[in-house]
């Protein structure tokens, strides 16, 4: 006897060739699309610059978002300012729109905690211990629900991270408590060297929400329009008491895992070539060009403008004065405990001058 049925839906608006496969969602006019396009370019350029900085020794290990720009950018655009983002480490596209200057992101990967002291009072910093952000997001959502606010929490994770128990525990409590949270999975097909297929036997990552009793869906993660629309709906649902949603955004990691990685060791070249055919910028440009709201000269101007913006942030980053070594102590507690004050003195004596 069949006692329960489930289905997973897939959403796409913009095909890789730049044509629509269904009418534009209302609310997303050409101006909005131009803005998404601008942000994706800005992000991609920032990304390239960060990698260059790392190559010349001016930045530590850096996690690139190449090829995955549609997710962060569309997600960030769909969120309200008073929503809360609990990100992982490939969400600069969203963070940027929420008050996190690029120089803060550089500072973070540059080995300086002050990079997470950015212009957003409630958003979490980048999360490295994979999937812990998921459970934390449910706590933020619980606070919002307790205070009966109409706000949503967005938390992100890679498809590899969905194998962690924390991810599931978060889904489960979000379902059980009907929490206002949207779980976004950046399914870029690889978790460092472990492929999507090795990671889990699921047909889709979206169906993992079935284990928590709420809906999951797949979206073309290289389609900024689709990501935006599905995010908008999920956020609206969350804010209005409809509970959690899991959105699996299908994309591809066109970059190495981080600058410390060499994907050539494990990634088939053909796969990479194919992925370049469906990447998110080209298709949106094709669409906008067909709409006659974009052309080569606008592209050129945009690139110039992006470069200027990023130059500015890079300059700021490079000119930041080192933090006093005592910073490592002074923010551990509201007040550094009396009992530990001797250690502060030792640090002052031996910590050396701040490094840069």
């Amino acid at each position: 006897m069949t006692i329960a049925n489930f289905a997973i839906e897939y959403y796409q608006y913009l095909k890789p060739d730049g044509t629509l496969c269904q009418p534009l969602p209302k609310g997303l006019d050409n101006n909005a699309l131009l803005e998404l396009y601008r942000l994706m370019h800005l992000l991609r350029m920032f990304d390239g610059r960060a990698i260059n900085l790392q190559r010349v020794g001016k930045l530590g290990t850096y996690a690139s978002t190449l090829g995955q720009e549609a997710i962060g950018v569309a997600m960030g655009h769909a969120m309200y300012a008073d929503d809360v983002l609990v990100p992982y480490y490939r969400d600069y596209g969203a963070q940027y729109q929420r008050g996190v200057a690029f120089h803060k992101i550089l500072q973070y990967w540059g080995g300086d905690e002050r990079g997470s002291d950015f212009d957003n009072a409630e958003d979490f910093p980048i999360c490295v211990p994979i999937a812990s952000q998921s459970v934390i997001a449910t706590g933020v959502a619980t606070a919002i629900k307790y205070r009966q606010q109409k706000r949503a929490v967005v938390t992100t994770i890679g498809e590899g991270g969905t194998s962690e128990g924390d991810f599931y525990e978060a889904l489960n409590v979000a379902g059980a408590w009907n929490l206002p949270v949207v779980f976004v999975v950046n399914n870029n097909q690889w978790a460092i060297s472990v492929s999507r297929e090795q990671q889990t036997h699921c047909q889709t990552i979206a169906q993992k929400a079935i284990a928590a009793g709420f809906s999951g869906e797949q979206v073309d993660g290289n389609d900024a329009i689709a990501v935006h629309e599905r995010m908008r709906l999920a956020l609206e649902k969350a804010r209005s008491g409809g509970g959690p949603t899991l959105i699996e955004a299908i994309t591809y990691r066109l970059c190495d895992h981080t600058t410390a990685d060499d994907a050539n060791r494990y990634r088939p070249k053909e796969e990479l070539d194919m992925a370049w055919q469906v990447e998110p910028l080209v298709r949106l440009r094709a669409y906008l060009t067909a709409q006659k709201v974009w052309d080569d000269s606008k592209e050129e101007a945009l690139l110039l403008e992006c470069r200027k913006d990023i130059d500015k942030d890079v300059d700021i980053y490079l000119s930041i004065k080192p933090a006093p070594v005592t910073d490592m102590i002074d923010y551990m507690y509201a007040e550094w405990p009396e009992a530990l004050k001797e250690q502060r003195a030792t640090l002052l004596q031996f910590g050396g001058s701040p490094h840069d």
Binding site: F124, T138, D166, V173, P337
Partner: protein, 326 residues
């Protein structure tokens, strides 16, 4: 005023803060209608509602993460792990996030959360229910680890923990949950978090302990008194950070020191205390510091647990060793 037990003092402190600060919430497994398996949250859900006193799904890592998220939003969640032996799945979030949130955001966010858990043996509980792994938490920078050993200290320290802007691990010695009753005025007055408590002054030896072992330590002091040996008895209470000054001052006075804890010996908090006293009072020491501790074995099931838990006889023996040392 009626006298209350340690666990009742916990309930009283929780009720006080729930009543006075709407940001305070209680959460954990079975803390609601059931009032917790030790009844530490008895009646709280009935009184404050299920949105303030919340039964969670059975998932400790989630409980930890959830608590951190709530705290980052300015709530003051008090999470219960049902037993210390089941707290480890939460350790990752506590260590990697709760303990670091302020530091890694340079103060932009912080984590005013309390993680309560009953700990220790001696109640004939099943496997895994009798842990004393306070040293794990005490080693984690950014945490404070507090252990009450009387009803009054349970009340005052728990209030302080809830009001603290930083995360506190609050360990409740379940063996003495109901051992003694004390008058504990429900006046909302907190005790300081960073302080050791000198329970009894003495000049011959300093006895240092915390949690349930305070009981045997004080009994030993009684017996020693009859033998003409006056022991200074200190309840460390805050095992992280340590109130080293109070401990060192005492040893400087007595010249002898015995540290008692139920946890496994190697890498227990007693080691840190001994090391600090060695650093600061070496030449006051008339004899090597003695540690009377659990063994470097898993806490045995209850048939053998009394052989594991430090006994009064062991403490007295250790004191005698320090006295006889030549």
């Amino acid at each position: 005023m009626t006298k209350i037990t340690l666990v009742e003092a916990v309930t009283q402190a929780l009720a006080y803060e729930l009543a006075h600060d709407e940001n305070v919430l209680v959460l954990g497994e079975d803390v609601g209608l059931n009032g917790g398996v030790f009844r530490a949250t008895d009646g709280l859900q009935a009184r404050f509602g299920a949105n303030r006193v919340m039964d969670t799904p059975l998932a400790e890592s989630m409980i930890a993460g959830l608590t951190i998220g709530m705290a980052a939003q300015g709530l003051r969640p008090v999470a219960e792990f049902q037993f210390m032996g089941f707290s480890y799945p939460g350790l990752d979030n506590i260590l990697n996030h709760a303990a670091r949130l302020r530091n890694r955001t340079r103060g932009r966010l912080h984590c005013p959360a309390v993680f309560r858990m009953p700990f220790g043996g001696g109640i004939h509980a099943p496997e895994h229910h009798s842990e004393s792994t306070e040293a794990l938490y005490a080693h984690i920078p950014g945490l404070q680890v507090v252990i009450p050993s009387s009803p009054a200290r349970a009340y005052g320290l728990l209030l302080a923990a809830i009001r603290s802007p930083d995360p506190i691990i609050f360990l409740e010695p379940k063996r003495i949950y109901r051992l003694v009753k004390q008058e504990v005025p429900d006046n909302g007055v907190a005790l300081p978090l960073e302080k050791a408590f000198v329970l009894r002054e003495g000049s011959d030896v300093t006895l240092i302990s915390w949690g349930a072992s305070m009981h045997e330590t004080q009994q030993a002091a009684d017996t020693l008194a009859q033998m003409g040996v006056t022991a200074e008895v200190i309840d460390v209470a805050s095992i992280k950070p340590l109130d080293t000054a109070t401990l060192v001052n005492s040893v400087n006075k007595t010249g002898r020191c015995v540290i008692v804890h139920e946890a496994a010996r190697s890498g227990g908090v007693g080691a840190e205390i001994a090391a600090q006293i060695g650093e600061k009072a070496l030449f006051s020491l008339l004899a090597p510091i003695q540690r009377v501790t659990g063994y470097d074995t898993t806490m045995p099931y209850f048939k053998l647990e009394n052989s594991y838990i430090p006994s009064v006889a062991q403490i007295i023996h250790a004191v005698n060793l320090t006295l006889e040392f030549s």
